[in-house]
Amino acid sequence: MTIETVTVAPAPAGPPDATPAPAGPLDATPATAEDAAAAALAGLADRWLEHGLCTTPADRPAAEAAVREAYVAAGLPAPRHVVWLPSPFAGALAAALLTAAPAGAAGSGPDAAAPAGAARPGPDAADPAADAPDGTDSGAAPATRTATAIAEVLAALRAQGCVPGEVAPGKAIRGTLRTAPWAAARMAATERLGPAGWAAHWAAGGQRTWNLLVDRVVTPLRTRLAEDLVADVRDPLTERARSALFDAVYGLHEAAWLSAFDGDPRLRGLAGVATSAGWWWPYEQVAVLTERPVVAERDNVGRLHRGDGPALAYPDGYGLHVWRGMAIPAEVARELPKLTVQRIRAEQNAEVRRVMLEHFGYDRYLRDSNARALHRDECGVLWRIELSDDEPLVMVEVVNSTAEPDGTYRTYWLRVPPDTRTARGGVAWTFGLTEEQYAPLAQT
């Protein structure tokens, strides 16, 4: 990783003199030092975002060296055991198994907490090349799924010489390893740049990665993990796994804020893991490391989004089916490619029906159902479809103002509130304006 420190000099707080400038020639915005620095920070942010969305297998030696460095930087001895698991789901279970039993209490250990049948190691599903199936695909009874996952994690821990009940992991040290150095780095940057300078620095080099990784990836993933870990079996072990999510360091997803501290020596260990591995769980004596995703697909505003498989998936098959940021059950996801109007009409769950409608395409659905054109004007056509047990679907059909390369004009549909009366009013709403306010001078 290149070590370069780029800072933005303190910028004026707020726009410079928002009064209209006197008419006349103005500076042709030369690239000031601040602009150049902001561009350099944006370049770093782009690089860090790539790390945060990386889907190649972990660089295990690099990650392990970086973990040791993070411990040493925090004044701690390196962990005695470093173990690898294929996903954050497996990692959370491993953390729960290891912290479940006091060392030396083998026998009263986690095996007792595992559901019956957990001792059968499951198949090794680690095939990054495969389109990872969702864990819910097996068709097996739900309890068996969690049991299988626990058995696989136990087998992996034993194979790596880190047997729950025999190894004392010690305390969780996320705060010492991650939160404290981060706070120190931020304080140092604020002292160096001043409050306004720090705000400008963060805006240029951290805000975007933070929004795209934390809001759009980490939060949905953590929410889904918390649900999935206790979905089939709710017992002390799975509850502990869910609590262990609070002890995780997010590995590659720490790129969200590391982008603003590129090259800070205090953060070298954390940064090294972020550029080489997935989520990890640091304990005093044990570090539980996990793989990066094998799939991470997003839509144009950065939300997790995929219509023909999991938008986020891991080598063991753990994954999230997501449509435009909305989590959907795997069985619904499997149906999307072969939908019919009848099937969509028959869907009882309104949210699922909306996803189906979007995937199927409003235009196709309109053609195949008794849609009424409510209104037409120069802005487009307003359509309405009654839906059972849901508010009516009201959409504006608009035509792109710029032609496609082949000379045709692309048409697209936007859903608007059901009380919309005119096409212009619908388009105005999409920009947060009233029909009277909306009057573009130029449109392309």
Partner: protein
């Protein structure tokens, strides 16, 4: 007001530009970006003379555009638009979902 695809540039009174904004939108190539496509890599870019972009604290997308000289909006898939001097709000298109709304992602 000026519309380029899913972005609307809406003139406002200079007095309506809120205080406490931070400079925003500069990309790695030094361009000022109003909105970018995460999947396509395309971007609504503003260039010109005396042009600055500003964001509300804690938001990554710019919300205000100040043009002291002249401005020009460009995008890979849309025609360019000339912007006269003035203060503008940058509005990203949204669509309705029952009980809420979300940004348009095309």
């Amino acid at each position: 007001m000026y519309r380029q695809g899913d972005v609307l540039v809406h003139p406002i009174e200079p007095a309506d530009v809120p205080p406490g904004l931070v400079p925003a939108g500069r990309d790695a190539r030094g361009r000022l970006v109003l909105a970018r496509g995460e999947a396509t890599g395309h971007a609504h870019v503003v260039s010109g003379s005396g042009v600055t972009l500003w964001a509300l604290p804690d938001q990554s997308d710019p919300s205000f555009l100040l043009v002291k000289g002249y401005g020009r909006l460009s995008h890979e898939e849309h025609g360019p638009i000339a912007l006269p001097a003035g203060s503008y709000r940058v509005i990203r298109q949204r669509e309705y979902v029952p009980g809420a709304w979300r940004p348009v992602a095309d």
